[in-house]
Amino acid sequence: MKNKQIASKGIAIGKAFIYQDEGFDVPKNKTKDVKKEKEKLKDALKKSSDDIKKIKEKSEANLKQNADIFDAHLEMINDPELIKQTEAMIENETLAAETAYDKVADQYIEIFKNMDDPYFKERASDIKDIKNRVLAYLLGKTPKTNIKTAQEDTILIAKDLAPSDTATLDFDYVKGMITEMGGTTSHTAIMSRALNIPAIVGAKGLIEKIKSGDTIALDALNNNIIINPKQTELDKLKAQQKDWQTHLKTLNKYIDNPTKTKDDHQIPLFANIGNAEEAKNLKDVGAEGVGLFRTEFLFMQSAEAPDLKTQIKAYQTVFEAIQPVIIRTVDIGGDKDIPYLKLDKEENPFLGVRGIRLALQEKKLFKTQLKALLIAAKDQDDLRIMLPMVATINEIKKSKAILNEVKKALKKDKKAFQDNIKLGIMIEVPAAALNAFELAKHVDFFSIGTNDLIQYLFAADRTNENLSHLYEPYDPTLLSTISRIIQAGHQEDIPVGLCGEIASKLDLALILTGLGIDELSMSPTSILEIRKTLASLNITDLRTLAQAILKAKDAKDVKKLIKQFKDDNL
């Protein structure tokens, strides 16, 4: 576990819950009591249906995802053909319910798996999902997603967590998360910060050392994981946990204050969010707005594209919670696949059809999203739409034409919508960074997306652990690129924000402020710490620091300068 990293700060102690996608080995059980087996089946189906109903209610309540897929799951569990065939097999072959159900469900899984149409092919996993749940009950085990019903503090441990996994997890009892894979920009990491749950990522080899139910002390302040800790260790950690909470309390004084330096330079600190639910708590952590609302989560967590109504509801939830909000249109592709779009498999998805490229290709999807946004924002002061992965002026022009079409259609239907639209772009492709002076003439704002800009600038995959030395946010090449983008925006009088993970890092937030950034959008939990620090510094000093840093020769130099600055000023 050498390479493990803190993804979200804090300390958590709880029982290990190992989340893995495991099937069941179903023994070939015979039965003498056919009637009893049928009863057993009925009971397992009932329990499974009840589970799904609860999951559906939960999903709808917190809007984490489109809950329609659970209607399909419910229908699959209660499918009359599946039940009839299972009962017939129990009777004719005197098989135990689990053996018969396993066989019949597998026949359906095979049918779907062998289909040509990728959408229907993917449905095999839905049947597998319900099969595993029903089988778990038939075998007297607990279904894996029963973390939903956990009644004690839990540390969630997984090899990796995909967005679709986390969408169905219930975090009421999850006090901490550990994954074996991933770095600090993985989905798990981003989500743990958004949910304010301590997390460590990249803890390779952990799962084979533990079993479910072990007590785990997750020390995401000192990057340490203790399995079945001794009482003395627990006492020490609990003391640290208390200190950490006290520290968080001192930060709370800054919740309602706007962010400004000692010499009154204002720099709004916004939050990055990944689903509508997260918007609800943003004011409690001091966010002054949303600088990046990642809408693709809406598209990834269901089996089909979310319809207009679902989207409007989700966007309105965010608009009602906080203002202003910068909404990024759907950024699918790269590492985020969507089965129902039936996208071609790409050799190199990060350089493939993603972001605005996909939106311009899947026009129906793009139009529905724009339409939903325009309607959802009808009672707001404005609507800020941001396009991802823009590389050329032509992409902006095409997007504007589509936006105009949507507006025209709404006008024709006499639907109320928001007409005051600010259209901005992410600057995350090197071509856009280089052409920023021209691009600035065509849009209303820039937001620098450093997660991708760094990996494209240095041609270093951000998920490749062997290249983490190249994924270096302190590199002066990156910082001077950012400086240039800011100048380009300011020359055309448009604001330039930044919404990458680097904004959450105090040192970098200070440098970026000195470079003249107009707004920083970050993990919500980093806002107060940065606000507190900025309040004790002068913008004039930060500008001097930034100028010195632009002349630095490497990342090590930059780090030295910032350390010196902090020693002198804090």
């Binding site: 329609d68 399909a72 229908e75 009359p80 599946l82 779907f112």
Partner: protein
Amino acid sequence: MIKQNIIITDEDGMHARPASKISKIAQGYEDAITLTYDDKDVNLKSILAVMSLAIPQDSEVTLSITGDNEKQTLKDILKAFEDEGIDIKTQ
């Protein structure tokens, strides 16, 4: 028994969301309801059976209804298709 040919014109064909809703509605009827596509007959009350046909856009399918309220059931089922966002063209 009465029969009705229809063409599914929805561009996604007969996918999970409408299939789940239509099977559920079909389960509310005593009459036997069969969906025929590509010479295969399935029980419309079974979502798995319906989806196992993987019906794509522009497919012609046949609804066959046997029971005491055939006409009313057919009318309701056709409406269910339309309500669930599946465009159909009757033939």
